[in-house]
Symmetry: C2
DNA sequence: TTGTACGCGTTATCAA
DNA sequence: TTGATAACGCGTACAA
């Protein structure tokens, strides 16, 4: 291992230096730092304040953490940090953390269990106090291990029932049913459901199941549930073609199980020269900054992402503060935003 | 004795525990941890490995960091983490960090100098080894302070010449000129430039100046440079109306200085019922996932964001490895992506 | 090849 | 209201 020698450009200022120039002991300075002003004399307090400013002192968090067995660090493990859904959650989580003096370490897994595991190890080494994770579901034993140490874990978006952890997300069944029911009521008679691979991802499963349930409830055949791996573009295109060939223009619609696949589908439609909603209607999960700008506007199920991030983070802090109540499953209501991509076709 | 009691209470596995169960000293374990295998007997090495696995030991990074005066932490201070431009950079930076065992702490400033300052202090407390920052430009003295400690700082996107720091971004002058020149060649005779407030943000200034320069070069009057504060929607709308009233249909175009304002402008146009490009042509900085889907597709200047993140991070590591060469200013070429929002209007 | 002893910067415990 | 001292978990001279 090639290590480079680091030169000390500036000697680091320590609590001892502050104590020295303020003419008090380290202990007293430490008390000042942790805000125990009531046991400090006016005099000591002022001199310490002055010394800190003069020396430009910043307490060393590593030393504090080591001593206190607390890092004031939160890990955030996400499948894809470039997904706006994830960043909105991060935004919410970050706001709550900042306010409490915690920092967030971001980890991008690409849905790869191996990467996720590496990150969990790293975060464990850093003694993170809390973890907010959108998990692949393939590293449950390590998550359980983490939870057994002092780490407060909250699962975001994806549940893993066997872990018995707090979960925050949206009510997938409710929202999916509302959306599909809406499309049926608008007169669509053949609705395709496109999702990324279901295995291991509760969110996708819940939405797919809700889709099936509602179709059955309305007496429709469940013929068009497509699972597409988005690594390559081909599979999705093929499945889309299959659906288009098997359906009649005018009464058909597509529902996308999340924002990523919704975007891909819109791209594919454009690529094939198909118009929305004339050739095919479309709707799907995840409101994004562009959904009202594409064609006649895309009908979406909007998730309160920022709120999800805030809530997840608040659960973490509650746990850190000693709340040992049974694990909660917090599901927000999604909001169906109706736009031109799913017009009524009843008269046709 | 006291040790075993403490262990039952806290359950934290330390290097001492590993040493005990492996039957060696802490030092030997430490050598193992830092990969100095050549000074370890086969026997010791195996026993340590086994002990680590058995106890599920993870070295405490806070302790290591404290001892080594290194945190293996990189701070990333960004104006808006939900901006796809920022997350793409983060993605690149993160990939490089992961590979080296570093972690990234994200800090969202909302372009607020006060928030930025708070974050700088916090990061200083954490003894970050490196900082990647998209700065407001209003906390230069604190950045200078950080740089004087052991922190390698790289400015991303926005420069601050007086700090003499490494900078990574895109060649704003070149790309802006190319884009405006392209629009002029396509026959547009009145081009408006919309930007967020110029003050203190080099990127915006460079683009605005390039815009002015090229107009002058072609003998056009520089009448339509609009600085809009996007906190409220009103100002932008008013300015847009001013431009539309002062210009003739058919030969007018809008250029947006970044992705955020480009999106707002497209929204505003839609809101006013104006069509692209029939009523007004439009182009702007920042390629986004939706730019090819809006109307006839939006002409954009694409920045190699992922590459910017990677490069910035690599500069940081180079500095940490002892590179003391003069500060670099790395400017990538942007790429003009021509789409239907800026058709040729020469014949009109 | 291995181990002993000390120190990193901070907080907690106790005594004054 | 203060301070001396012992940890926290690890790495590293120095010794063996």
């Amino acid at each position: 291992m090639a290590k480079s020698i680091r030169k000390k450009l500036t000697e680091r200022v320590t609590i001892t230096d502050v104590a020295h120039t303020a003419g008090v002991s380290k202990t007293t300075v430490s008390r000042y730092l942790s805000g125990q002003y009531h046991i400090l004399s006016e005099n000591a307090r002022n001199r310490i304040q002055e010394a800190i400013r003069e020396l430009n002192y910043r307490p060393n968090q590593m030393a504090r953490g080591l001593k206190q067995d607390r890092s004031y660090l939160i890990g955030m493990v996400i499948a894809d940090i470039t997904n706006p859904f994830s960043t909105a959650i991060l935004r919410g989580a970050e706001d709550v953390c900042k306010q409490r003096g915690y920092s967030i370490m971001v980890c991008n897994t690409d849905n790869d269990p191996a990467k996720e595991r590496e990150y969990i190890f790293m975060l464990q080494s850093r003694r993170i106090d809390g973890l907010l994770i959108n998990t692949t579901g393939r590293n449950n034993q390590f998550l359980r291990q983490l939870a057994e140490e002092h780490t407060a874990i909250v699962l975001v978006d994806r549940k893993v029932p066997e872990l018995g952890l707090d979960t925050v997300g949206v009510d997938n069944e409710l929202s999916t049913k509302e959306a599909i029911r809406f499309m049926i009521n608008r007169g669509y008679e053949q609705i395709a459901f496109f999702t990324e691979p279901l295995e291991g991802v509760s969110t996708r499963q819940e939405r797919a199941n809700a889709f099936k349930d509602i179709l059955i409830q309305y007496g429709f055949p469940v013929a068009d549930l497509y699972e597409a791996d988005l690594q390559q573009a081909e599979p999705l295109l093929k499945q889309l073609e299959r659906f288009l060939e098997s359906s009649r223009e005018g009464k058909r619609a597509i529902f996308a199980a999340n924002g990523v696949i919704l975007l891909k589908l819109i791209h594919a439609l454009k690529h094939k020269g198909l118009r929305i909603p004339d050739d095919v209607a479309i709707a799907g999960f995840d409101e994004m900054e562009w959904t009202d700008l594409i064609g006649p506007g895309i009908t979406t199920v909007s998730q309160p992402t920022y709120q999800i991030g805030v809530t997840a983070m608040e659960r973490i802090f509650r746990r850190l503060e000693g709340d040992h109540s049974p694990s909660q499953n917090i599901a927000f209501a999604g909001k169906l935003i109706i736009r031109g991509s799913t017009p009524s076709v009843k008269g046709l």
